[in-house]
């Protein structure tokens, strides 16, 4: 486990062509880390996430991704992701291969990944067309009842990136609030990068809290507001207006590209990104 700047840890551990999961279920979405990946112009990534939202829309629109494994690709509470749509519908800026699941299927795949089983099982996908378009959705027979049970292959990302509330000085990570499949995605990965709101002397975690011990963490960067415009429970609220504005902003390729240039690429880091938004407001 090492501490570093976000720039250092993205540069040090994320390579072109890798499978990368920036997990987060509405809460604690690692926006700052996604922007740093975008700034460092990583290419040919296989992005993985149950709910690719705005940060994946940005990475896809900026040409960082060759593939996407997901189960719901929208702007939560708002509507479509226009850059994701443009990639799938029109191959812009480049073709995007999609591997599509349901939430239950992806949860089973991450769980299998964390447990290092080669597959997960669920009663799922019955009567749907998803298994027609995703050949990875298969089935086994129950050795006791002979029931057909759906299977999904384990997901084991090369790198998982999380945002969390806090790390202590040893590098133990505390996550609280809505946790989605973050723990499973973290433990399924070969490398785990974490941005945190703050590094503290003691996590003060309740006994059965969700803590990732330092020895499963690859690297940590302190990035205050690192989930903005998503939120960090106990630190700041979700900027719902940003999500609404994105719907408008992202419809047009030119406006999208200008926004990325102005706010992400021309910012040196997340603090400058936040400043540039404040100036524009």
């Amino acid at each position: 486990m090492q501490f570093g700047s976000l720039q250092e840890i993205v540069d040090g551990y994320i390579r072109d062509g890798q499978s990368v999961a920036l997990e987060g279920f509405t809460h604690l979405i690692p926006f700052a880390a996604g922007h740093e990946i975008l700034r460092q112009k990583k290419r040919d990534l296989h992005l993985i996430r149950m709910t690719p939202d705005l940060i994946y829309d940005q990475l896809i629109g900026a040409g960082c991704a060759r593939a996407l494994t997901f189960s719901w690709g929208g702007n939560p509470g708002v509507g479509s992701l226009h850059r994701l749509r443009d990639a799938v519908e029109n191959d812009w800026p480049q073709p995007l291969t999609i591997h599509e699941h349901s939430h239950a299927g992806m949860a089973a795949a991450y769980t299998a990944g964390a447990a290092r089983l080669p597959f997960g099982i669920l009663r799922g996908y019955v009567g749907t067309h998803l298994s027609r378009v995703n050949p990875q959705i298969r089935e086994v027979r129950c050795p006791y009842t002979n029931d057909a049970i759906a299977t999904v292959p384990a997901i084991n990302p090369d790198v998982t990136v999380l945002h969390a509330q806090a790390a202590d000085r040893q590098g133990n990570i505390l996550i609280r609030g809505i946790v989605g499949a973050q723990k499973e995605a973290a433990l399924a990965a070969n490398m785990l990068l974490v941005t945190v709101e703050e590094i503290v002397d003691s996590l003060g975690a309740p006994m059965n809290a969700i803590v990732l011990p330092h020895w499963v963490v690859t690297a940590i960067a302190e990035v205050p507001m690192g989930a903005y415009p998503s939120y960090a429970h106990g630190y700041y609220a979700r900027d719902n207006a940003f999500y609404l504005a994105w719907d408008e902003m992202s419809r047009d390729r030119k406006r999208f590209t200008e926004w990325i240039n102005r706010h992400v690429l021309c910012s040196h880091d997340h603090a400058e990104f936040l400043d540039s938004l404040a100036e524009a407001a």
Partner: protein, 280 residues
């Protein structure tokens, strides 16, 4: 005319749809809720006739009591007011798949006459005309919830003879196929639209118009349906919203707007502040 009845005469089709959905819920029922109309309907029911309903959001909140509607499925309000907050894999395995959900709410871009739903693509899958967000929790909610209520606006574009893609199973090809294939839940038992309510016919499971809203004709509903709509022998006219229903629903929406506006202004001010000072 009293103030209350004046209020009741001004409702919108969207309000009527929400209220019609809320009326189908009962005290103590365990409801798997999505964002939008389902969330509004479930919370309206909880704040009126079913105060002990259990709301479960797929983001992990079990027994949530939000005072405002979430804008996203993972709003902090849902965690703060929940009996328990669990992981998403747990929600889908120990709670949904385990058959603990009485009612699952689903929306869709397309529905067919047997209640099968499409939220994936319009057009072909490989090169779609419109790529929609996709499945999310819907396939397994449709499979495992003891029953499903579908909420969507009725039009020939959404009520289609043939789905472009089947994301979630309703009654499949009807005529008992769902039961024959032993899907655990009973499937869509009501489709609540902005015009009326459809229920599956006994035997065929074909969606059949059983209720219309005030001032909406059966012909108008037929015209908004992309297949020859089955109509029950008697079509009820659903009671208009009560003054209390409208008041509670509008209060809920108003509180929601105020809260989200406040969060947004607070959130955008915070970059300059120390993070731990805010909202801790």
């Amino acid at each position: 005319m009293s103030v209350d009845s004046a209020l009741a005469n001004t409702y919108t089709p969207a309000e009527m749809m929400t209220i019609a959905a809320a009326r189908l819920l009962w005290p103590g029922c365990v409801c798997f809720v999505g964002i939008g109309v389902p969330s509004a309907a479930a919370n309206l029911a909880r704040l009126t006739h079913a105060p002990d309903m259990v709301l479960i959001y797929e983001s992990g909140g079990i027994g949530t009591h939000p005072s405002v509607l979430p804008l996203s499925i993972g709003d902090g309000e849902l965690a703060e007011t929940a009996t328990a907050v669990v992981s998403l894999p747990e929600i889908f395995s120990y709670w949904l798949q385990a058959g603990r959900i009485d009612v699952g709410f689903l929306g869709a871009a397309q529905i067919d006459r047997f209640g099968n739903l499409n939220t994936t693509v319009i057009g072909g899958y490989g090169k779609p005309k419109t790529r929609l967000p996709g499945a999310g929790g819907a396939p397994e909610i449709a499979l495992h919830a003891k029953q499903i209520f579908v909420v969507l606006k009725q039009s020939p574009r959404s009520f289609v003879a043939k789905l472009d893609f089947c994301t979630s199973a309703g009654f499949l090809s009807g005529h008992g196929e769902r039961a024959r294939r032993a899907l655990p839940g009973a499937g869509p038992q009501a489709v609540i639209t902005d015009l009326g309510v459809l229920k599956p016919a006994i035997g065929s499971q074909e969606l059949t118009l059983v209720a219309r809203y005030e001032n909406v004709s059966v012909d108008r509903i037929r015209a908004a349906t992309g297949w020859p709509l089955a109509v029950a022998n008697t079509v009820d006219v659903m009671a208009v919203p009560t003054a209390e229903e409208l008041r509670v629903l509008r209060d809920l929406h108003k509180r929601t707007e105020i809260a989200h506006a406040r969060d947004a202004s607070r959130s955008r001010k915070t970059p300059a502040l120390s993070a731990s000072q805010v909202n801790a």
